[in-house]
Structures are given as structure tokens and as C-alpha cells.
Symmetry: D2
């Protein structure tokens, strides 16, 4: 992993996800520009100190010196955006597979150069447009591909957030100080580059179509802001198919309100990121249908993307992980909050409940003390 | 881990959760009553063959023979219910911490014996009432404890499922063949023992109160079924506080519809497992309020139980894990479905989109080709 | 109409509803025990003063003296509960059809006596269990009757309100002063008599079954309250069919949360009064289906009970009535709030919008001023 | 009333609404271009035949001949769009108040001419943008006016329907035959003129702002269709405030999905027509708040626009009207469906239920037969 050291949110998400899928083991990396902090992080994670490198170049050199069987296979790049291209290029050219956060690069030219390298090197390059990993997004893709909607007639995607409000409505000095609002670090766009592109990707992913042209109206919203924080994009596909992408970072109270609606001549599909287990199929002639994961009516691709039986949101793993976390604190003798994990006393209470219930029923529905 | 071998659902959930929280490493166990299958599982997971034991007794013996620093610290029991007690007792008496699936035991006496052992040994015993790990359940607990609801007046919890319909409406021979419906293996109760007890636990967890007595009416629903598949339990706390627990395994189409509503003299709280990120606070005099994770208005306990920023359901880790899974298949040269992970070409498309959008806006909102 | 004078809420609802269905005209009544207030009300409503009677007896006498073609055909009784029986009995025995608010009487004996009178007189007696008039409740009834659910397995109905909280948590003197809490005026029960009976009626209406026996646990909730404000009722039908009715007036923040869920061997149906246009059909093997009014897939009974095209909640009539109300104020020269009805200026704005939009599109998507 | 005769949907809605608000009485009109059908309609409605006129001119002449106190005060125009202007102009110039369906006219010039006439005549002209009559829309208007949202930052309104799909995906001959798709009858626009303008009106109504300029991209969707059936409109207000209006008649399965979201520097408000009783207030720092009608926290304007206590959707009047309708059928001896109104037997059942429940509770929670 490049980046993702102490305090980094997205690097932590990558590590959790790779542990869940259980196909990867974190063996080394360059976790911070500050080598001391990088080593400190490696220590916390139990990583072999010899594989905590100071630079990407030294990582490449060090890993290539190892026997192929021990060598790092894949590198995840979770650094600030401007660094993606250089690191990805070097790593690919040195034979490493790459997982890269989005946006992939700063310019179209860099993006196309990476595409050529990947093609020539025959390596795997994975861009983490995470939303395409949801089971019901995959179900949507399959249903559209199989013709459930008929001829597509309108496409509408939205990504609304509000978090930047607290920044732009602070002091002027603060506005200019935030790197997200500085074109040098953020690139050509704030809102469209950070979240509009997710809506774009979701459209192309689910429909299998490519958007042909765009017309946009962007809004910096406030004096002194150099980049778009809000905008609407008219989109056109082939003849008679149009749509819209709406994105904003100033919709106060919206969290990650990413939605997509695809309307066809026969039926329509709608999905929303904040309730990702519900896929809605609308039609003029039949009751609205709600598709959920872990059912035989879904396509194979959706079903292999889900690991829980129906009715348990995937977040239940985190709930169970919280129980394990509390248990670990207790085992280590660390302080923990009462209620962090159910104890043997909860087990006793539960057994008493079950037996009292059965007894009450057997005794012709009379009261039984627990 | 005891149990949880090839094909076991709940063991897999425990492993995923323990990998997410990153405080545990699976180093050995007794994964199957069939030793060959157990060894096969250990091989798949990369577990040292010498720590794949044939029995729990040999596990205890083998681990105790290791230096303390290498020894297994905690054992997760995910076997069928009837085996929980014996294994937990032996492990605790040998000095191991225990994580145990629910129901903890088959009888109240066994449960109380375990409680005594845990007390004497001063070990950690964790019962996986998973639902208490959700951030908004913990927020609910804190809000009730801090008096937000005033004096409690009514408590209503429900756990409705429908999966057993397909079994009982099959052939007669099939009914008797399912272990869940056989008192020898399932214990005193099917519906109340398996899911009613979760509703019970959630009530005691969130309110901090103990239910004093119950009156139940259980229903086997179909001729030839020996256990309850459905039931309602009237519950009483102290003076003037009553409520109800409703549970069923024959509510066709219900998945894991666990809900809890607690009504007080000042306000009320409602939570539903299938949409676990929403906690609803009702009052007579103010607009209904929806609490969600990752906000400053939550209590500390809820916030430490959540790892994503607001608006991303925790299931997003699984979405990202799916991307990593597809990437792994590609790296290994395995077959994968197009769309299992976003490629460098998606990255090129994204960069083209962002730059076309910015260009259209700069050119006074005219169309730009992608 | 008997009762329903100045300030009476339920009488007003009856008048609005009878005007909507356009089969009734209000020609007279006894609107208040205070004859002066009754006459004042009649004057406000433009009712012939000679038909504003002082008592029900004088109404009967007066109307019978009129030629049959002019005579009142039907009388709506919207008085306090204790008066229903006497008035209904007299009116029926004098040959008038009766519409009566619920609860119909104070005792079972009175109820049975009325039933006999109606039977003998061959008159129409209509009890306003209003919820059975919703289109989707009627659709539910039809779907159950046609066997969509298979054999019924569980029935769960709820009616939760919270309005009585503000009364019981006021001063002691206030508690005793509220007639709802006084057995002399409210009858045998507060919560079950006022709202539990609606849940009961909805069960028998939608399923076509009769509940055979009940077991209840009621709660006065607070010291000094003589009647139930909260309760749970276990219900039994024939063999292997059970269920529960839950009702409360102390669930703070709940408004009129009346719900019903009927679970069968093949599928399940759920409906909620606060969102009455949605009927949910659940099954284990198919996506959840949402039925809504004004669609060809509904049965005939549901469709004849709806007057709006799909997608407009019935409440849209009240929205339009508000526009008409504002218009009337303006016509009469009364004061009105800006925005009470759209003016000709709004019409000008609308036309400008439409033409500007068409022009922008024709001019290759350029900006057009409004 | 002009128009609105036999089989006319919108005329019926106007009559129902005016009966609900109880400020209007239908005394005459020109109900159909076919005078025989018009007279037939007047007969059905019990209207004085002498006031069922053949033309608007004869109506004006006839009514002006009546004493002022008997004369029609206000005329509702519910004819096809192209006739609105001429009738409204004549009626206003003759001194009648006018209620007019939207779109008000066919051209901007006609609209402005009407505005001038209304201004000069000092008459009331009411345009039925019905959605502005919803209580929560009025609450939204008041909250924005009082500064709850701070400086507005983004406005997004949508009106999606799907009903035209069934027409355009029929045969070619059918397409040309539908008047909605014929510019001569429908005017400059189909989708924007019929429904886009509602979204436009809702924006200007709730925010109190005027949209300054628009940029649109419209879509006829199918070969051979002359008008827009779908489109997106970029909208601009003053500096730094932009937004979008999205409208479509080809979103299959959408009914009347009219929504509005207004985002400000401090908070945001969202409302949806299909669930009109819920107004959502979002902010970055507080729980999401849901405002509903009939609560003390609402502004006065919203509260005077609502007639039901909290928790009963306004559609409950129609439910009660359905009960009255069934009762009327029974009184008249017409055929009715069992279940069209609750009978005295339902009343008996209800009383038995209440008394059995009370008895069970008194007898220490034992079973009591009904």
C-alpha cells in the first residue's frame, strides 16, 4: 500500500475490505511521506519493518530483489490524487498489479497513458469505483443487459453531499486554505471530479452505454471559491436518449445521496446508495417490485456479490465486529464500555426467558416469573 | 474456533467480523466433526496443520502445551446449540476466553453453571447477540439511559421471519427430518429460542431493565410440528410498565424483521434491523427526528461503533471487498465476470467526463463530446 | 344530523365526506344540546331554521309530519358515545335510516337490540368504521378472499396513538376532569373501546374471519387512572391460527399508527393507515410488490373506491379545496394570506417559462431570459 | 362552470374540491360543446335547466340579466387549453370572477393580456396550481421566508410521469391521433407545458424567487413525435444560485412523482407530492426532522390549510365518503358490494370485543370467548 498511514480514512477502508474478501494480506508499503510515521504505522499493524519503505522507488527496488514467491503481488495506491499517476506508472512498469483510488489521474492524457501501459504489460489495474460492488447495482446491470427495460428513454443520476458547507461558510482565510478548493491539488474540478464522476461511472456501468456528449453548468456557489462545488450536466447518448447528472457538495444535510434512475420503454429501475439493498422496478401495468439481495430471483452476478442471507444488511458484519472488538478489549484487560459485548449473564437471562415462555404456554397461558 | 468448517455460514460470519475488527487472528481449531474435512478447511485457510485438532479435548491439551505467548487466547464456539455448554465449560475451566453463539446453552441450569465458572475464572465470555453491535442500537441505549424518554410506558419488540414456510409446507416426511423442528436437537423452543430471544435481549439491552414475568401463547402452526414456530409473549416489568414480544418463523416474505419500539412519558424511540442506520425519535410536540451514525449529535458509544463517515452504510466495505475480490481473481488469472472491478478504461472514461464537463462550463454551457 | 355543531370535529368530517360523495344533502338536525348554539350553527350552514330541532324527539315528530318526498331520509349520529343507543333506537323505530359513529353502543346488549331492530325494520344502519373505506383496504380484503395468501397463519394489528400523554402527565385534578378517563362517560374501556376496536374491525373486515376468543393485558399506565390507556390482546381463530392486537394511547409521538399484517402459507399482506395508498405483498420467492390505487391490476371493488388517477393521493382534493377557499375569500373581499391561491401573475410566469424553455431548446440549448 | 361535463375528470375534481371547502355552490354553466349532453349533465347534477347555457356568450348574457344577488359570482374554466384565453377574457370583461385550469393560455401575450384585464377590473382570478394548496408546501414556503435555510444555494425540482409510454409505443397511426402530441391543440410543448410548469411554479411559490433564465434540452423520445415528452432545464436565479427542473412523461411506472428540494447555507427542505404530509428538514449538525400537518410547531398558514388531526391523511375524507356512498346505495335500494359500509352487525362484534377484552383483563388474563 502507498499512503493510508495513521489517520488516513480511505486506506483503512481498503484494508478492511481486503481483509473481508480474504484474498489479500498486507505485507508492506510506503504509508506516509514522513518515514517515521510510516514506520510507526507499520509497527502498529505488525508489518515486517524491512518492508516498510521510505519511497515508492525503494519499494520497487526492494520487492524486486525478493524471490518471486515472496514478492508483493499488488499495490494499492491511496495517496492524494495528484500522486496517483506517477506511482501507478512506475509500479505497472515494474510488473506490479495496481489497485488505485479514484480519480485515477489529473488529466485525460495521463489516464490514456496508463491505459496503454496496462494493455502492454497485461497486468491487472483496478480502480475503486466502490459503488459498483453493491449486489443490487450488479443486479441492475444484469437486468438492463437482459432487456428488462426495453429501449432506454431517460437516465437521471444524482450525487448530493453537504459537507463542504461548513468549510465555505467559515472565514475567508479558511476557504483558501482548504486543498479541496485549490485547483493545484484538486485538479480541474471539485464537485464533478470528486463525486459527479461516480454518478457518471454508475450510469455507464449499469447501462453498458457510453455518454457521447455533455453540456454543463457549474457553480462555485460562493465568492472566492475557484472550483465548482455544485453543478448540473446534461448528457446525451445516441438518438432520442438523453439524461442528466446532478452533483453538489453544498446540499446541507445530504450525506452520500447517490441515486440512479434508468427509464425504458417497458419498465424502469431505481437505486439509491444510502439504502443499497433495495432495487425498485417500476412499470405502468404491474405493481412496483422491490428486489433485495439473497433471493433466487436475482441473477448470478448479484448473488455471488452477497454473503449474508436475506434480511441482514451487510453492515451486520460490522455489528459483529463491534462485539469482537469489545471482547478483545476485555481479554486484553483494557477498559471497555458496559454493553460492548453480551456477557454470560445475558446468556443466563436468555435461557430463563425461553424456558419461562415455554412454561407459560404449557400452563394454559398463565404468568411465569423470570 | 470450534465448528465453522466448510459450508458453515455462521462460522464464516465470525471470521469476517474478527478480520474487520483486526484484533484476532485465526490460528487453529476443531472445524468439523469429520477430521478429514476439518483438515481440508484448515488447509484452505492457511492454518498450521498442527493446530487443526481432532477434538476439543486434544485442542485444549495441545494449546496448553505451547508457550503462553504462542497459545490460543480465545476460542469461538459456533457448533450446533446442544454442544455449546460442554465445550464452553471445558474451555473456560482450562483458562481460555470464549466467544459463543447463541443460544448459550440448552437449559437454565447449564447457563447458570457457566455464569459461575466465568465469575470464578475471571475470564471473558462473549455471547454473540450481534444486533447489540449496531451503532444506532447503542445510541438508543444511551438515550434511554440519559432520560430522553422520561418514564417508560410501553415496550414492543418484534422478530418476524418466513423461511420455515418452505419447510413445513413441503411433505410430511420432510417436516420430521428437519433438526430445527426436532426438540432433541433444537431444545425447548424453535421460534422463541432462535429469534424471540433476540427481541428479548434487545429490550433488556436498550432499556437496561429486566423483564419480570411473561405470559405466552405459542403456535406450532401445522399438524405434526412439535415446537413453536410462532408466538406472542406478554411481558411485564415493574408497576405500570408492560409490553409485548412477537416472533414468528412463518411470516412468509419477512426476512429478518427485528424491530423495537420503546415509548416513554416524554418521547419514544424506534429502530428496525433491516435499516439499521436510522433511529427515530418521536414526540408529541416536536418534529420527528432521525438519528444516523457518524454525526456529532450522537453519544460517544454510538460513534466509536461506527467506522464510516455519514451516508455510507457499513455495507460499503463489502462493496469494496467485492472489488478487491474481482481484482484478486484477475491477478490470479482466474475467470471473472466483466464488471467485477473497474478497469483502467473506466478511469480514462472518468477523466474524459470531468474534463468535458469543465470545458462545457467554460465555453458558456455548450455541448462537448466525450 | 344529531350532534356535530359548532367546534365539533367528527361532525365536520361527516359533512365533508357526505359532500364529497355527493349523495347526501344536510337538511336539518339537532346540532347541539344548547338550542341557541344549535340554531346558530344551522344559520351558518344555511339550513332552514324550521328543521333545526331542539330534541331528537321533536325532530322525529317534525320530519314525520312532512310529506315523504321532503322528509329526511337518513340521520347521522355524531354525539358522545353514551347517547348513540337511545337516539339510534328511536330513529330506527321511526323509520329513519341511520349513520352512526363508533362505538355503536355502551353494552353488548344494546348492540344486539339495535341489530334486531335493524333486521326487523329492514332499514340501513351504517357504522363509520372509516378505515374500511380506503381503496387499498378493500383490495386487501379481495386478495385474501381470492386465496392469494393461502392458509392464514398469523395476524397482527396495531393502533398506537400518543395524545393522552399530555393529559395524564398534567396535574392530578386534570386527570379526573377528562371525560375520556371517566368510566361513566367513556364506558368500559378507553384505549380498547376507542381504537383497539378499529384494529379488531380491520382484522375481521379484511380476512372475513371472526375472532373466537381473546386474552388481554391492559394497563392504566398511571396511578389514578381508572381505565386502560394501553394494552395487548392475544387473539385466536380456529385451529392453528393466532395473532395479536396491540393498542395504546400513551405511545408519545405516534399519531394514528394503525397497521395490519396478515401472513399466510403462500404470501403476506401489510397495510398502514398513515400511508394508505400502499399495500405490500410479501412472498418468499418473489420480489416484494407494492399495490397502489388506480391501476388495472387491482380488483373492481378497490378501483370503484378511488376517484383520482394513480399518483395523486386523495388528499389532493383538499389541496384544491384550499385553493378554492382562498379564492372565495378574495371574491368576498375578505383578508387572505398571499399564496392562498395562484393568481393571474403566476399564469403569466408559467407561460413565460414554457416558451423560454421551448426557445432555448430550439436555439441549440442556449440561455433564454424569462 | 365551463366544461367539465359527463366523463370529464378535472371538472369533477373541481366540483369535489369546491364542495369540500363549502364556499361555492354550482348553479349553472356550459358543461359540454354538445348542448344535449350538457343538459343531460345539468339534469344529473340537479342544476336549474334555465342556467344550463348553450354557449359562454349566452351564459354571460343570461346571468347578467339576473338580479345581482342571484347572479353567478365566479366561473370555473375547465375546458381544453386552447379555449381558456377567450372564455376567461370575456368572463372577466363581463365582471365575473374566474377560476381557471392551467396552462392559463397558449401564448405569453395572451397571458399578459389577461393579467392586465384582471388588474383593471379588480376581479379575482385563480389559477389552479393545485399543489400549492398542500399544507406542507405552505409550511415550506413559510420556513424559507423566515430564513430557516439561510442563503439558498441549489434548487432541484422534478415531475416524472410515465403514462405517455402506452401511447407512443402503440402504432404509428395512434401517435398522430392523440391530441396531446399535436401542437395545434397542445400548444408549444407537451411535457414542459403540462407538468414541467408545475415544478416551475412550485419553485417560485416556495422560495418567493423568480427564475431569471433557462437553458433546456428537450426530447421527443420517438420518431414522429412533434413535441417534447421529456426534458431537462438548467435554471439560474441571481448570482451563485442555480438549479434544475427535470420533467418527463416517458418514465414508465412513475405516477405523479413531483418533488422539490431547496438547499441553503444553513439547512435544506425536501417535499414529495406522492407523500404530501411529510416535509423533511435536513442539516449538517442536527438529526433530520420530519414535519407533518396538525402540529403546534407548524406555521399558521400551514395549519389553517389542514382540517384533520395529526396522523390522518386528508384522504381519510374520501374513505369516509366511500362509507357514505355505500350507505346511500343501500338506502336507495341499489346493489352494493358487501363491505361497502360497516353494518350494525359490525357494531355488535365490536362491542363484544371490547367487553371480552375488559373481562379477560379483569379475570387475571385468561381466555374469554367472543
Amino acid at each position: 500500500m502507498i499512503g493510508g498511514g495513521i489517520g488516513a480514512f480511505i486506506g483503512d477502508a481498503h484494508r478492511r475490505a481486503s481483509r473481508i474478501c480474504n484474498d489479500f494480506e498486507l505485507v508492506g508499503g510506503v504509508f506516509d511521506v514522513d518515514y517515521e510515521r510510516s514506520k510507526q504505522f507499520a509497527g502498529n499493524e505488525g508489518i515486517d519493518p524491512s518492508r516498510c519503505y521510505e519511497t515508492v522507488d525503494s519499494l520497487i527496488k526492494g520487492e524486486l530483489a525478493l524471490p518471486a514467491v515472496e514478492r508483493m503481488e499488488s499495490v494499492s495506491i491511496v495517496t492524494p490524487n495528484a500522486l496517483h499517476f506517477g506511482f501507478a506508472k512506475n509500479l505497472l512498469n515494474s510488473g506490479f498489479h495496481v489497485v488505485c483510488e479514484k480519480p485515477m489521474t489529473m488529466t485525460v492524457e495521463e489516464a490514456e497513458e496508463l491505459e496503454n501501459i496496462v494493455h502492454d504489460q497485461k497486468l491487472t489495474f483496478s480502480l475503486t469505483h466502490t459503488y459498483t460492488g453493491y449486489p443490487m447495482v450488479r443486479q441492475m446491470k444484469d437486468m438492463i443487459a437482459s432487456g428488462t427495460l426495453g429501449t432506454l428513454q431517460r437516465i437521471d443520476a444524482q450525487y448530493y453531499q453537504g459537507w463542504i458547507n461548513s468549510i465555505i461558510h467559515g472565514t475567508e482565510s479558511r476557504i483558501t486554505g482548504v486543498w479541496r478548493l485549490d485547483p493545484k491539488h484538486a485538479g480541474a474540478s471539485s464537485c464533478m471530479g470528486d463525486i459527479g464522476v461516480h454518478a457518471f461511472n454508475l450510469i455507464e456501468y449499469t447501462t453498458g452505454l457510453e455518454i457521447e456528449e455533455v453540456l454543463s453548468d457549474l457553480n462555485p456557489v460562493k465568492e472566492g471559491v475557484a472550483l465548482d462545488l455544485d453543478g448540473t450536466v446534461l448528457i446525451r447518448f445516441g438518438k432520442n436518449l438523453k439524461g442528466v447528472i446532478r452533483a453538489s457538495q453544498v446540499c446541507g444535510g445530504e450525506e452520500n445521496n447517490l441515486t440512479i434512475a434508468v427509464y425504458g420503454s417497458k419498465a424502469s429501475l431505481k437505486w439509491s446508495q444510502e439504502n443499497p439493498n433495495y432495487l425498485t422496478l417500476l412499470s405502468d401495468s404491474e405493481p412496483t417490485k422491490i428486489f433485495k439481495p439473497a433471493h433466487g430471483y436475482n441473477d448470478k452476478f448479484a448473488e455471488m456479490s452477497h454473503t449474508m442471507p436475506s434480511g441482514h444488511p451487510e453492515g451486520i458484519y460490522e455489528a459483529l465486529a463491534n462485539i469482537y472488538k469489545g471482547t478483545a478489549k476485555s481479554i486484553r484487560g483494557e477498559e471497555f464500555t458496559p454493553g460492548e459485548f453480551p456477557t454470560v449473564h445475558d446468556g443466563v437471562r436468555g435461557m430463563k426467558f425461553i424456558h419461562a415462555v415455554v412454561e407459560s404456554n404449557r400452563k394454559d397461558n398463565t404468568w411465569v416469573k423470570i
